[in-house]
C-alpha cells in the first residue's frame, strides 16, 4: 500500500526531471551549474547556428539541380506550345521566360526572386503561370502525411523487432526476423509497392489501389511501402546495438545489484541501445524523401514527389527548383531534430 500512496517519482521511471519541481530541490538546483545539462538558451543558440549553417547546403542543392536541368537536352517551351508552333513563336516565348539567357544569369534571377520569397511561376502546360509556392503548399501536406506515417511504421516496427530479436539471439525467431529484414531491405520500393498493391488491392480488395480517394485506407499501402525498407534497417541496427550494450559491464553490474531483468533490459539497456538509432533518424529522413518520390509515383499519391517527377518530365524548371528546395530543407531539419534528440538522450553529448 505504501508503494501506491508514495509511488516512485516520475523522473525515476523515465529518467527525466519533472519541469514543475521546485527550484529549491536538488534535482533542479543543479541544472544551471552542471555542464552535462542542457539549458533552453543553449538549445536556441544551437538551433540558430545549425540553421545558418544549413543555408549554404540548401543553396548548393538548388545549384546542382539547376545545373543538371540546364545541361539536360530539351526545353519547357516545346511542351507549352502546340506541336505545330512556328520556330519564331518558340523563340519569342523562350525570350519571354528568359530561357535564352546564360546559365549564370538564370540562376542569379532565381536567387534574386528567392530572396524576395518568390519561387516563380510554373512553366508546365497543365499549371502554366501558377505560383510554384501555391503548388507546393497544395502538395506538401500529403507528403508530410505519407512520411509521418511511414516513419511511424518504420520505428514502431523496427525498434520492437530489433529488441525482440536481440533478446532471442540465435534462436529460430531471431533468424526469421533477420531473414525478413534482409528481404524487406533488399526489395526495391517500387517493386514492393506493386507487390503490395497486387496482394491487398487486386486479389484481396481490402485497400484502394492508388490515389487518395479511400481516405485513411488509401495511405496504408504507400506508407507501408515507404516504411518497410527502413523498418528493416532499424531492426538490424537496433538488434546489433542491443547485443552490443548487453555485453557491457554496466549491464552485468546492474544485474549484480539485483535489478529485475525487465528493468535491466527495458530501462537501462534499451536507453543505451537507442543512441545509435537516434543518430541515424536524420539520415532516415533523407532516405524517406528519396523514397517518397518513388512511392508517390507508384501509387499516384499527389505529394511533392509526384510533383517533382511530373515537373521533370515537363521541363518545369521553377517547380523542380522549388520542390528540391523544400525537400532539402526536410533533410536538414531532420538532421537537426536528430542532433537535438541525441544530445538530450545522451548526457555525454553537448549541444555545440
Amino acid at each position: 500500500m505504501e508503494k501506491l500512496e508514495n509511488p516512485l517519482p516520475f523522473h525515476f521511471i523515465c529518467g527525466t526531471r519533472p519541469k514543475h519541481a521546485e527550484q529549491k530541490h536538488l534535482w533542479t538546483a543543479a541544472d544551471g551549474g552542471c555542464k552535462g545539462k542542457k539549458s533552453m538558451a543553449d538549445l536556441i543558440s544551437y538551433v540558430i547556428r545549425k540553421i545558418l549553417l544549413a543555408i549554404p547546403v540548401i543553396l548548393l542543392a538548388t545549384f546542382i539541380v539547376f545545373l543538371m536541368l540546364y545541361l539536360t537536352p530539351g526545353d519547357p517551351i516545346v511542351n507549352i506550345l502546340p506541336p505545330h508552333a512556328s520556330p519564331d513563336d518558340i523563340q519569342k516565348l523562350r525570350e519571354k521566360y528568359g530561357f535564352d539567357q546564360p546559365f549564370i544569369v538564370q540562376y542569379g534571377k532565381f536567387l534574386y526572386r528567392l530572396a524576395q520569397g518568390d519561387l516563380g511561376q510554373s512553366v508546365s502546360r497543365q499549371t502554366l503561370n501558377l505560383d510554384v509556392s501555391d503548388l507546393i503548399i497544395q502538395r506538401l501536406p500529403k507528403t508530410l502525411e505519407l512520411m509521418a506515417i511511414g516513419l511511424t511504421i518504420s520505428y514502431s516496427l523496427g525498434i520492437p523487432l530489433g529488441v525482440y530479436s536481440a533478446l532471442k539471439q540465435n534462436s529460430w525467431k531471431d533468424r526469421s526476423v533477420m531473414v525478413f529484414t534482409l528481404v524487406a531491405y533488399a526489395m526495391p520500393s517500387f517493386w514492393l509497392g506493386i507487390l503490395l498493391m497486387l496482394l491487398f488491392a487486386v486479389y484481396l480488395g481490402w485497400l484502394p489501389i492508388e490515389g487518395t480517394v479511400g481516405g485513411f485506407k488509401s495511405i496504408i499501402l504507400p506508407a507501408m511501402t515507404l516504411g518497410l525498407g527502413n523498418a528493416a534497417l532499424t531492426t538490424r541496427m537496433m538488434r546489433s546495438s542491443m547485443l552490443e550494450v548487453q555485453r557491457q559491464d554496466y549491464i552485468t553490474q546492474l544485474r549484480s545489484r539485483g535489478l529485475p531483468e525487465s528493468e535491466v533490459i527495458f530501462k537501462h539497456a534499451l536507453k543505451n541501445a537507442m543512441l545509435p538509432v537516434i543518430t541515424v533518424i536524420g539520415l532516415d529522413i533523407g532516405w524517406f524523401v528519396a523514397g517518397a518520390v518513388v512511392v508517390e509515383t507508384v501509387f499516384s499519391w499527389p505529394g511533392l514527389g509526384l510533383l517533382v517527377t511530373n515537373s521533370i518530365t515537363n521541363y518545369d524548371y521553377p517547380t523542380v527548383q522549388g520542390c528540391i528546395l523544400v525537400l532539402a530543407m526536410f533533410v536538414v531539419l531532420g538532421n537537426l531534430v536528430a542532433d537535438i534528440l541525441y544530445a538530450f538522450v545522451d548526457p555525454r553529448v553537448r549541444l555545440g
Binding site: 505504501e2 529518467g15 536538488l26 555542464k35 552535462g36 545489484r257 539485483g258 529485475p260
Partner: protein, 424 residues
Amino acid sequence: MPGRKPLLEIVGLRTQFFLHEGVVTALDGIDFTVYEKESVGIVGETGCGKSMTAFSILRLVPGPGKITAGNIFFMEPQDVRQRRMQLEIEAQEWYRRSSLVEKKKLVALYDYRDTGRKKKAKKLTPAQIDKIVPPDRVPTGVTRYYLAQNAKTMPASDKVGRAAALFSFDLLTRTDDQMRSIRGKSISMIFQDPATALDPVFTVAYQLGEVISLHQGIYDRAVLDKKIEEVLKLVRIAAPVNVMKQYPHELSGGMKQRVMIALALSCSPSLLIADEPTTALDVTIQAQILNLLRDLMRTTGSSMMLITHNLGVVAEVCDRICVMYAGRIVEEAETFELFANPRHPYTAGLLAAFPKLGERKDELSVIRGTVPNLMRPFQGCAFVERCEKATEVCGEDMPRRVEISPGHFVSCHLWTGKEGPNVR
C-alpha cells in the same frame, strides 16, 4: 577455525563453459570459506577463474557457462552447518557402500562434467563411471542426492537436519527472484573498470536511488536523497550533493570507483566481492581506494572477497589468501603464513617473481611455461607441466586438499604425505 562464523562456504564448485570447440572447465572443484568480518584475497593469473568465482557466487555466469557441481552456502547458521557436515560424511559413506546401479544413477544425474548434458544412466559402463569419478573419490553431487532422499524420511523434529538436508542455505537452490533479493543487498560486487561499469545515461543519484529503493523499499524522494547523500559521504566523496546530480562521464576514475563502492555498500551487504577494484586506477588513487575499502570493512563489519592479481594489494588488505591456478585453489593460508611459508610450488614461484625493493637483480625470476588449456581435462595436478618438483604421481592423480598446519591448506602431492617433507 573455531570461534568464527562462516559466512560463505563454497564446496566443490565447478563452473564449465560449453562451447562448440569443447568444454572449458573454468572452475574445477573449488573449496573455500569466507568467515564473518574477514577479508579474503583470491590471487591468481589472468584466466585462472578468479572473476568466474565471483560470478558463480552471484549466479551470473555469462553465456554458455553453467555451474555444474558444488554448493555455495551463504549465511548458514552454525548448527545447520555442523549437522550438514555430519550428514555429508554419512552420504560419502553411503556412496562407497552403494551398488553400481546406484552409482550410475548418481553420476548420470549430478556429474555431467564432460558433455554438459545429463547422461543416460543405462549407457554408462563401470569404466566410464570410474573415468568420470575415480573409484576412491566421491562425486560432489552425492551429498545433495543422498540428503534430498533422506530429508523425506527424516523425523520432523530434526528441523536442523531437514534444513541442512534440503540445503536451504545453498545459493544454487534459490529461485531467480530469491537470488535477485540477495544480489546487491546481501552480496554485492565491485567491478574492475569503473569507467565501463556505470550506466552512462543515468545520474549517480538515479543509479544509487534505484538500488536503495529496490532493496530498502524507500520511495519517498526526500528520504531517498538523504540516504544517497549519506552513502556518498560514507565513501568520502567531498561534495556529495554535487556528485549526485552528475553523470558518470563527469567524474574522475577514482570518483567513479567511489561511486561504485557506494553502490555496492548502499544496502550494507554482509559480503562484498571486489573484482580487481584498483586495476584500472592510477597508483595514488589505488592506495586511497584500498584504504577506504579496508576502513569500511572494519566499520561496517562486513566481509570482503578481494580478487586481484596483485600480491601487494592482498598483503595490505586481506586476512587470508587463496591462491588459484587453472580453476583450482592450490593454496590457502593466513596472509602472514602464506608469505612466510609458501608451500605450493606455484605460490613459491609467484612470491619469487615479486621483485623486492632494494634487491639487485639482473633478471626477474619467472615461472616457466604458460597456463594450461582449460579445455583439456587434467588427470592430475594442473601445475604439473610448469612445476620443478613434479613427480610421476603429479601427472596422474589430482592432489587432495590437506591442512598442513592450522588454517593452511595445500593441494600438492609434495604435502599429501605420499612423498617429500611431511607436516612439520
